[in-house]
């Protein structure tokens, strides 16, 4: 396909996104008003309409919509490549993910059979009323959860990643010259330290950062005042790329909520409110087994965490509707996983009665609720919270628990972590390897949760600022290396794996931004 054809396809794709939305209607109306100007010559009509529109508010909205689409859009596939090639180009990784999908399905099925509960059923009238009454305090309405267990934990998933071998590479064979020193043996391309320095150059030590230079000990006139002023200007502009650029140096806490919304292109209008209400009614109508898994997960993680236990009910109000949201299914088009399938009871094998389970296709694992928890500090309206979370999940978080060769996938992040640690701290890496404490086994739980629940909540948000700003999860691996470097002296003194784990058990006191700066830019 020539580049012109590709552009044509792109324009059509984008148009299909905008078609029928209130934005299109508004743009159309505006264009009509402009074209009614009697002084306008017909030869200049098109040009004038485009120019005038792009200066108006709706023009910016259109730009934001296009930008949002471009950020999420996968590369244009080759016409010969099938849909599965778009999901994951490497055959053996595709197979590994499909085996993993099957394993999850099996484990869910056996849970159903053991406990004698169906995956989904309609609630009785009485139960429906109960749910409506308790919507604000769903935590108190939790069923008996003692028999439930999370479908899988990060550890199980790590084992699968460790077992990944390319059948066409010599690296998988033991004692091969090309096998890697870490536990991940997939030869994917990852960025080198120099490339990372260029990528994250706005974070370099000579540049002021929110998260470092807004410390109360530093007089605000040096940095903080100007930063807040600039933040206001950026917000008034309502332009996504601008907000994203601003986030590269972190968001001042007061304006983070708006900045993130602008960067992610989340603008909750009446239709979105209505859609959330609809999802809520679906929660009321149907009782899903996944709800119990979410309950169990929240009780095990967020409720147990002194930073997040107050938000327990908020998290339910996000995750229950999330599991019913079929728009989430869209992300499977460019992710290696496939949503589990099932049939309505009594209609096994009849294609018209095939459904996805859960409706959004995402089975929560141990720690899933922690993707939501830090957001509760920014947004007090559960509806806004919901849409921001959904956008974050569909852009970034799904990559953290799927096997894929994408440069942002958890496999690449693990590999980046291991190779960075080897090149930055060779002595430390060798020491840990010798005492059987493979560093990734310690760091994996941080990576899969994007550090949520391990760091102080404010620090998590400062970290996620950078994820949004650079549109990349790579910063997670950089931070993990930085933490190892920071605790190097203690780690070099321990002689067992459990002691090494002990040294890194509590990282709540760490400040992420200076650590990342130190690890990336100090020589």
């Amino acid at each position: 396909m020539s580049s012109e054809d590709q552009l044509q396809v792109l324009v059509l794709d984008i148009y299909s996104q905008i078609k029928g939305t209130p934005l299109e209607l508004e743009l159309f109306k505006q264009a009509q008003i402009i074209s009614q100007n009697p002084l306008l010559r017909s030869s200049e009509l098109k040009q004038t309409v485009i120019e005038t529109l792009s200066k108006k508010e709706h023009g910016t909205q259109l730009k934001n919509t296009v930008y949002k689409y471009l950020q999420k859009r996968p590369a244009v596939p080759h016409p010969k490549a099938g849909p599965e090639h778009l999901k994951e180009p490497l055959t053996y990784i595709r197979k590994a993910q499909s085996n993993w999908d099957k394993r999850i399905v099996k484990s869910l099925n056996s849970m159903c059979t053991e406990l004698g509960v169906p995956l989904a059923r309609k609630r009785s009238e009485k139960d429906q009323k109960e749910v409506i009454v308790h919507w604000g305090e769903l935590g108190t309405a939790a069923p008996d959860l003692s028999a439930f267990r999370p479908v899988y934990a990060p550890k199980d998933f790590l084992e699968v990643l460790v077992g990944l071998r390319n059948p066409n590479a010599h690296s998988g064979e033991p004692s091969s010259f090309s096998s890697l020193w870490g536990i991940i043996q997939v030869p994917l391309r990852i960025r080198s330290i120099m490339e990372l320095r260029l990528r994250f150059n706005e974070m370099s030590i000579n540049q002021c950062q929110t998260g470092v230079d807004d410390n109360p000990d530093i007089p605000p006139e040096l940095f903080d005042n100007d930063r807040s002023k600039l933040a206001k200007k950026v917000l008034n502009n309502k332009h996504s790329p601008l907000s994203q650029e601003f986030l590269k140096k972190g968001a001042p806490p007061g304006v983070r909520a708006e900045l993130w919304k602008q960067t992610l292109g989340v603008d909750v209008d009446q239709i979105d409110q209505l859609y959330y209400e609809q999802l809520k009614s679906y929660v009321v109508q149907h009782d899903l087994l996944v709800d119990s898994l979410i309950y169990k997960d929240v009780k095990l993680t967020a409720t147990n965490d002194d930073q997040y236990f107050v938000f327990e009910d908020y998290i339910y109000q996000v995750l229950f509707p999330f599991s019913r949201d079929t728009q989430v299914l869209d992300h499977f088009k460019h992710s290696s996983a496939n949503p589990p399938k099932s049939y309505i009871r009594g209609k096994l094998g009849v294609e018209e009665f095939a459904v996805h389970y859960p409706p959004n296709g995402v089975i929560p694992f141990h720690g899933f609720a922690m993707y939501v928890a830090p957001l509760c500090y920014i947004y007090d309206d559960p509806v806004v919270l919901y849409y921001v979370f959904r956008e974050l999940y569909m852009r970034y978080f799904f990559r953290l628990h799927q096997i894929s060769s994408h440069p942002q996938s958890i496999v690449s992040l693990c590999l980046l972590f291991e190779s960075l640690l080897q090149s930055q701290e060779p002595q430390l890496f060798l020491h840990l390897k010798t005492i059987q404490a493979q560093p990734l086994r310690i760091a994996f739980k941080w990576l899969i949760r994007a550090f949520s629940g391990y760091l102080d909540s404010e620090q998590v948000l400062l970290l996620w600022d950078r994820v949004l700003a650079y549109n990349s999860l790579e910063i997670l691996a950089v931070l993990a290396v930085a933490i190892f470097s920071f605790r190097k002296t203690n780690l070099l003194q321990v002689g067992t794996a459990s002691a090494a784990e002990g040294v890194l058990a509590d990282i709540t006191t760490l400040k992420v931004v200076p650590l990342i700066q130190l690890s990336l830019f100090s020589t």
Binding site: K80, A81, T91, K102, T113, P118, A120, P187, S342, V355
Partner: protein, 216 residues
């Protein structure tokens, strides 16, 4: 001229070895020829393939020459990069299409093609090209089928063809068909204006009772 994707016959790839032929030593170079049986020569517009761990591709072509001149292999594609980095598998199984623009000369009167695939990295056990297809135009020109006679017939005036009796209670056929066309256009417009936003229903016939997940 008819453009149709046809497969040439791909001969068995030869991996170049260095030194003792009995010893396994990959030079990182693999050669295979493609012949086009049952045709004297072909014209190739483009070819596509799926790469499997090859790093660069060079293609040579042999063209039909004047009688008396020995046909020679000439390079028509020089070291096209298939993988961004030979040691890393990112992009190792991608699809490619090589079009006229990328070739050094037009592939006309071609009697055979020779593919030279290189993989300098020792990390991989095997490298090859898969699903190789050519879009070619053979020298024979196919006649375009003439339009059917009934399409060429001039639009008839009302009252012609007395053998086709008018059906009672119906307006004239031509009026009817023009109305139908209008309606069809309206339907097309209506479907084109529909949004792609789904309603988000996940239940079938108001039921979402599920017992177990399916394994397929």
């Amino acid at each position: 001229m008819n453009a149709d994707p046809k497969n040439g016959t791909v001969k068995t790839p030869v991996y170049i070895k260095v030194g003792d032929p009995k010893k396994e030593f990959f030079s990182g170079c693999c050669i295979f020829d493609v012949a086009f049986p049952n045709t004297v020569s072909v014209e190739i517009n483009e070819f596509s393939f799926k790469n499997y761990y090859g790093h660069t591709l060079t293609v040579m072509a042999r063209r039909k020459e004047e009688p008396g001149i020995e046909p020679k292999w000439k390079t028509c594609l020089k070291r096209m990069k298939l993988m961004p980095n030979p040691h890393f598998e990112t992009g190792a199984q991608d699809y490619f299409t090589v079009t006229r623009k990328q070739l050094l000369f037009d592939l006309t009167n071609v009697t055979g093609l020779r593919f030279i695939l290189r993989q300098p990295s020792p990390v991989w056990k095997e490298f090859k090209l898969e699903e190789l297809t050519f879009v070619k135009t053979t020298s024979e020109t196919a006649k375009s089928a003439p339009l059917p006679a009934w399409l060429l017939r001039p639009p008839r005036a009302h009252g012609d063809y007395p053998e086709e009796k008018e059906i009672k209670g119906l307006p004239p056929m031509d009026d009817l068909s023009s109305h139908l066309q209008q309606m069809w256009a309206m339907v097309q417009q209506a479907t084109a204006n529909q949004t792609q936003v789904s309603l988000g229903r996940f239940d079938v016939d108001n039921s979402y009772d599920i017992n177990l997940l399916s394994y397929t």
